[in-house]
């Protein structure tokens, strides 16, 4: 073989190698898109099933015709009322809340580079719990003895949910902390708000304490169309902003110094994403209570399937969170009917074995 034909064949080999990698890369992208699509279909199916189940059964086709009917007319029959006013808001609330929590967990794990970060461990949920307890126990805005204003509860839990995030923000502004320090700050917020919640519960009326505790576990019991609009608005504002930052969050994963050297403003990005995620979580939690675990496991499980690219992980975790809450809520209201188990209990009990199974199956340190 002459020298020139040798270089030509070398070029050929390089060319085929490139084509191969291009093909593999495309395939890996497609796999992620299929996974997201699969979760979307799963969500639609679960939503359909959830609409048929309840105190009395309504068939699949009937459900869809009722929904179609009620989009343009008022609910008239009992079936129509059940599906449109009771089940559908609840299903939508499960989807929106699950999506919000899944996204918030993904973002917090991403910017803090910590597998434990999520709305709960960052103290946001317990902040909201304190805000809610305060209103319930003090009976803020009550119209009758032992009551409280639902609007006051939503406002108070929203505001207190943001307190831990503001504390973390203050730490970021004060000095240049490592992500680990921020997680520790979040956990200490979790402790202090749990303690404060307990403290105000000590002298309180036992009935009010029970209500507050039920709230803290999370429930979709009060779902109505009035909740759907504000919570949709929160998601519609926060999600595009977070999606826009996903690529920068990917780079943060490489470490702060590397990210800086690639041109990311690490501190600014961290503050921005942390605040938006906190608002998102607060917006969800103030309506449904502190549903735990979804924000932790949705991103982890999705990461096992499609990897750590947040551009795909964000929509995947959103859909996974939605599916998980739909499933959990359906179980919560059917398994011991007419008794409804708070959804937060179901997510934790159902999610833990699934999560542990997947962790044990995977060999890598963090998939």
């Amino acid at each position: 073989m002459t020298a020139s034909s040798e270089t030509i064949s070398k070029q050929e080999i390089a060319k085929t190698k490139r084509a191969q990698i291009r093909g593999l890369y495309k395939k890996s992208i497609n796999k992620k898109i299929y996974f997201i699509f699969f979760l979307f279909i799963l969500m639609i199916i679960f939503a359909g099933i959830a609409a048929t189940l309840g105190s009395y059964e309504i068939s699949f086709t009937e459900v869809y015709s009722i929904i179609f009917h009620c989009m343009f007319n008022n609910a008239e029959t009992y079936e129509q009322y059940t599906v449109w006013e009771l089940r559908l808001p609840r299903i939508l609330l499960a989807i929106l809340a699950g999506a919000g929590l899944g996204i918030a967990g993904t973002m917090m794990q991403g910017i803090l580079r910590n597998p434990l970060a999520e709305p709960y461990t960052m103290g946001i949920a317990s902040g909201a719990g304190f805000g809610a307890s305060l209103v319930i126990i003090l009976g803020v805005g009550a119209e009758y003895a032992g009551g409280y204003s639902r609007y006051a509860l939503i406002a108070s839990s929203f505001i207190f949910a943001l307190v831990p995030a503001v504390v973390v923000l203050a730490i970021v502004l004060h000095r240049k902390p490592s992500p680990g320090v921020l997680v520790l700050a979040g956990i200490s917020m979790l402790y202090i708000f749990s303690a404060l919640t307990m403290l105000i519960q000590v002298p309180a009326d036992p009935n009010a304490v029970k209500v507050a505790q039920f709230w803290a576990v999370g429930s979709l019991e009060r779902a109505s169309w009035l909740d759907i609009f504000p919570i949709s608005l929160v998601l519609a504002c926060c999600v595009p902003l977070l999606m826009w930052k996903t690529w920068d969050i990917n780079i943060l994963n490489a470490g702060d110094e590397t990210a800086e050297s690639i041109g990311i403003h690490v501190k600014r990005t961290r503050i921005f994403v942390m605040m938006i995620s906190a608002v998102l979580t607060a917006g969800v939690v103030c309506f449904v209570g502190a549903i735990s675990f979804v924000g932790l496991i949705a991103p982890h499980i999705c990461r096992m399937f499609i990897g750590a690219d947040n551009r795909f992980l964000l929509p995947a975790s959103a859909l996974f969170g939605a599916v998980l809450l739909l499933l959990a809520d359906t179980i919560a209201r059917t398994i011991a009917a007419p008794l409804v188990i708070p959804i937060g209990i179901v997510t934790a009990i159902m999610g833990t074995p699934l999560f542990l199974y997947l962790i044990l199956k995977k060999k890598g340190e963090y998939w």
Binding site: R18, I21, G255, S261, I264, Y366
Partner: protein, 258 residues
């Protein structure tokens, strides 16, 4: 001149880490930074990439003050591979290298960005690992991936903080050879901190010897790595022999403290 530093000083609160640092880096050269632990090698490199900001002095890249550059512009001029990268969530080699394209595209990679990644994988011989997670690679391969990432930024200056200290001798040679060949092919300038004095003398064009936050001496490796300098800076008695045009250093024992 690619990089010019004049009278730079850096410190934390009351402790001065770097003082009176003036140096330059020219086209297509590999500048080795040597000196004992705590001499300020990493601090110097981090100041250049504005990971930390010096209190005094100026840093000019292609004649422009680095303080006046946006972070994206800076990333197009300087690439940096820090010491000991700990990535938490593993990504594929391809996606890891693609991160280096951040200064060139906003949110979604274009076709040409993917092609640049392919160029780098080919150049550093990483093609067979393209779709593997970086956590599955050996330390030497990982280091090459991180260098590939910095190179896809297409910066003219590459800063490497101890890229070979954790590697076995084969991977040390591989990584350093790759750096040399990239310098030859792309004409970039590399500043590399390195502990092994023999590797430093073999793979660099010029050495900068640091001691106590100051530049002790700079010049060719044979003029820098003398028994007197090593004794004074490291506190080590060393035998230095000629090996071709390079100095070969065999450390003997620590100097007895008086």
């Amino acid at each position: 001149m690619r990089l010019e530093i004049k009278d730079m000083e850096f410190g934390y609160a009351s402790v001065t880490i770097l003082k009176d640092v003036s140096m330059e880096l020219v086209e297509s050269e590999v500048l080795g930074v040597v000196g004992p632990n705590g001499a300020g090698k990493s601090t110097l490199i981090r100041c250049i990439d504005r990971i930390i900001s010096p209190q005094k002095g100026s840093i000019l890249v292609d004649g422009i003050d680095i303080k006046k550059m946006s972070s994206t512009d800076r990333a197009k001029k300087i690439g940096y591979v820090p010491q000991g990268i700990a990535q938490i969530f593993p990504t594929t080699v391809f996606d890891t290298v693609l991160m280096g394209r951040r200064p060139h595209f906003g949110w979604w990679s274009r076709k040409e960005d993917n092609e640049k990644v392919l160029d780098m994988l080919e150049l550093l011989n990483l093609e067979q690992f393209a779709m593997r997670g970086i956590n599955e690679l050996s330390g030497g391969q990982q280091q090459k991936v991180f260098i590939a990432r910095a190179l896809t930024q297409e910066a003219d200056i590459l800063l490497l903080d101890e890229p070979v200290s954790a590697l076995d001798i084969r991977h040390q040679l591989e990584v350093l050879n790759v750096i040399r060949s990239v310098v030859k092919e792309k004409g970039i300038s590399v500043m590399i901190s390195i502990h092994d004095l023999n590797l430093a003398s073999r793979f660099t064009d010029r050495l900068l010897l640091m001691c106590d936050g100051q530049i002790f001496a700079t010049g060719s490796s044979s003029s820098i790595l003398t028994p007197e300098n090593i004794k004074q800076v490291y506190g080590v008695e060393a035998n230095v022999s000629k090996f071709g045009d390079r100095n070969y250093i065999a450390p003997d024992k620590p100097v007895e403290e008086k």
